[in-house]
Amino acid sequence: MFKMKFKNKREIGRWGEIKAKKFLEEKGYKIISENFRVKQGEIDLIVTKKKNLVFVEVKTRKTEFFGPPQAAVNFKKQKKIKTIAKIFLMRNRYNNYIKRFDVISIIYGNDKVSIEHFKNTF
């Protein structure tokens, strides 16, 4: 593996989102939308698998020194994602789908990348 070098935090996040996208595609998810952005904010990934519609929040961190990445998806963030998900559903027809919120946490410290997928989290 190579040593990660990023200029800024946005780059870290962007890199993580690409990682997560590949990870989900390998698992058989179909990407519907990337960085679905509205006035209220954005959802990193919106994917489907069979009849599931999944809103995915990707969190990337270098170390667990300040806690694991998934711990940063706090109540405020969850509320935000739910609001944006509603807007997405108003604009697109996914009536027959089961909706779900997932979190993907990525840690890239110590020359190795670990990806964890938490399903149906909030």
Binding site: E64, G67, P68, Q70, A71, V73, V103, F118, F122
Partner: protein
């Protein structure tokens, strides 16, 4: 403790702790479940604020003791879920459960132990209130032992036949049954020393009171038969002084009584075992501004009040007419039943309240009504209103009414010591033994409990005495309820003299303790 592991991810651990409702303890199962998911830490099972806050203490305590706090979805269930969980003493069990769910504590032995203790942020185990009732609960439920804070070990050792394992830091809990077994049972070999039969010397004594022989005699009778007493007299004659010395002539607390008294104090965290268990009878003097809740006990989660703290001792109400009427009326049920029942929407709790009520009062608002040497300047209506503050039904439960007159100048200046408390106590104990023997087949032990059928059974009067009593009632205008009380008091007086039958002298003395009837009410 049971640990289930599904592929090393989902883990469940169950430890046992204890919750108190009143003085009754309940076994609480602390179930800890670790799940994969967003990190969270929830406590369910009707926790109150102190229990819910234990999340932060447990988290810090585990981290600061060098263990990892699991980044998992942690759910704590306190079962049974219908009992409200109160107090910070679940900390240790919750922390232990979290460590057990991670297999840091591995053994099954914890299943037989009750765990109580509050944690501080650095992992120290702090002392908790109510240890005595908790250990008693553990014993009743056949637990092998109790793991509790170091500071509480002495109090816990009062209960015999159960292992006491004191811990002072959370890491001790790990080592009790952990890989390097380091179990240390507190050996309570000296716990018998805590129960002392010797009466500790009081700093006050009856011999310090000049004169007032009549009052001293009445107090002796009251204590001997556990009668309630009211003293009426002008200010500064020594009513309070007399009352404060009442415990000095009461018999020392028996071993069971010491435990009972300590159990109530334990709930409030007031047990002090530095000098062994308390042998002196409790003497409570609540201020007259006291509220109903602090008098009989109360609160959303009921805690014992003054009357329960006076259990097996004396409740002294100085200036009884100054107390709120509502508070005084509340004393009626406990005086009758020797316990108090407190009902709240979520629970009903009984506290023991077997106390002697000693009250004092001035005869009128200015204090000098009926005093030969100073003129009272109250109007009749003022006096009447003042006295009406004590209701009939309450007065009904006070057997002895005593007038404490102001002292003669000669008596005051004369240096003459009165009788020592020790001697009076001897007579009191003798009289109480007679009563205990006589009532050994009844469910009471004092003359003050005599009523109805029992009154006639145990207070048979000679024909001549009946005539005497009839005459007294007629001429002094005494009520029907006074009749019962005269008999009860006469019974005690004859017990003090060790006589089987009530004699006319005893009866006559008993009658004179009613002479305030009509005058005071």
């Amino acid at each position: 403790m049971k640990v289930k592991s599904k592929g090393g991810i989902n883990m469940l651990a169950v430890l046992k702790s204890c919750s108190l409702l009143g003085i009754k303890g309940f076994i609480i199962r602390v179930e800890v479940d670790l799940n994969r998911g967003l990190p969270a830490f929830d406590i369910v099972g009707l926790p109150d604020t102190a229990v819910r806050e234990s999340r932060e203490r447990v988290k810090s305590a585990i981290k600061n003791s060098g263990y990892d706090f699991p980044v998992k979805r942690i759910t704590i269930n306190l079962a049974p879920a219908n009992i409200k969980k109160i107090g910070p003493h679940f900390d240790l069990a919750i922390a232990g459960g979290i460590l057990a769910a991670q297999n840091i504590i591995k053994v099954k032995e914890l299943d037989d132990y009750l765990i109580v203790g509050e944690l501080s942020l650095n992992g120290d185990v702090q002392k908790v209130n109510g240890i005595l009732p908790m250990v008693l609960t553990a014993k009743k439920n056949k637990f092998k032992g109790v793991i509790l804070p170091e500071e509480n070990k002495l109090e816990a050792s009062l209960v015999e036949g159960i292992e006491i394992i004191p811990v002072s830091h959370i890491s001790d809990l790990i080592h009790i049954f952990g890989i390097n077994k380091r179990k240390s049972v507190f050996n309570a070999q000296n716990s018998n020393k805590l129960f002392s039969k010797k009466v500790k010397n009081y700093e006050i004594d009856f011999s310090e009171i000049k004169g007032q022989h009549e009052a001293k005699r009445a107090i002796e009778i009251a204590v001997a038969g556990s009668h309630n007493l009211i003293m009426v007299g002008p200010p500064g004659v020594g009513k309070t002084m007399l009352a404060k010395r009442i415990p000095t002539i009461m018999p020392p607390l028996l071993k069971e009584e010491q435990l009972e008294v300590s159990r109530i104090q334990s709930i409030l965290g007031k047990v002090n075992l530095a000098n062994g268990l308390q042998t002196q009878r409790p003497f409570r003097t609540p201020h007259h501004s006291i509220t109903a809740a602090s008098m009989i006990g109360g609160g959303k989660i009921p805690v014992p009040g003054e009357i329960s703290l006076a259990h097996k001792g004396v409740l002294f109400l100085d200036e009884i007419s100054e107390y709120r009427r509502k508070v005084l009326e509340l004393l009626r049920q406990p005086l009758e039943e020797k316990k108090v029942t407190i009902s709240r929407s979520t629970m009903t709790v009984d506290f023991p309240a077997e106390f002697m009520l000693i009250a004092s009062s001035n005869p009128c608002p200015c204090g000098y009504y009926g005093d030969p040497r100073r003129e009272c300047h109250c109007t009749i209506n003022q006096v009447r209103r003042y006295r009406n503050k004590i209701s009939g039904p309450l007065l009904d439960r006070i057997d002895l009414q005593l007038e404490v007159p102001s002292l003669d100048v000669n008596e005051l200046t004369e240096y003459k010591k009165g009788e020592k408390s020790k001697n009076i106590r001897k007579r009191v104990i003798a009289a109480q033994k007679i009563q205990q023997f006589r009532y050994k087949n009844e469910n009471f032990i004092n003359n003050s409990h005599l009523s109805g059928k029992n009154l006639y059974k145990y207070c048979k009067l000679h024909k001549n005495n009946k005539i005497l009593l009839k005459k007294a009632i007629k001429e002094l205008g005494l009520s029907a309820r006074a009749y019962d009380r005269i008999l009860r008091v006469a019974r005690t007086i004859s017990d003090l003299e060790g006589k089987e039958n009530i004699r006319s002298g005893h009866l006559a003395e008993a009658i004179q303790y009613r002479r305030l009837e009509g005058e005071i009410h």
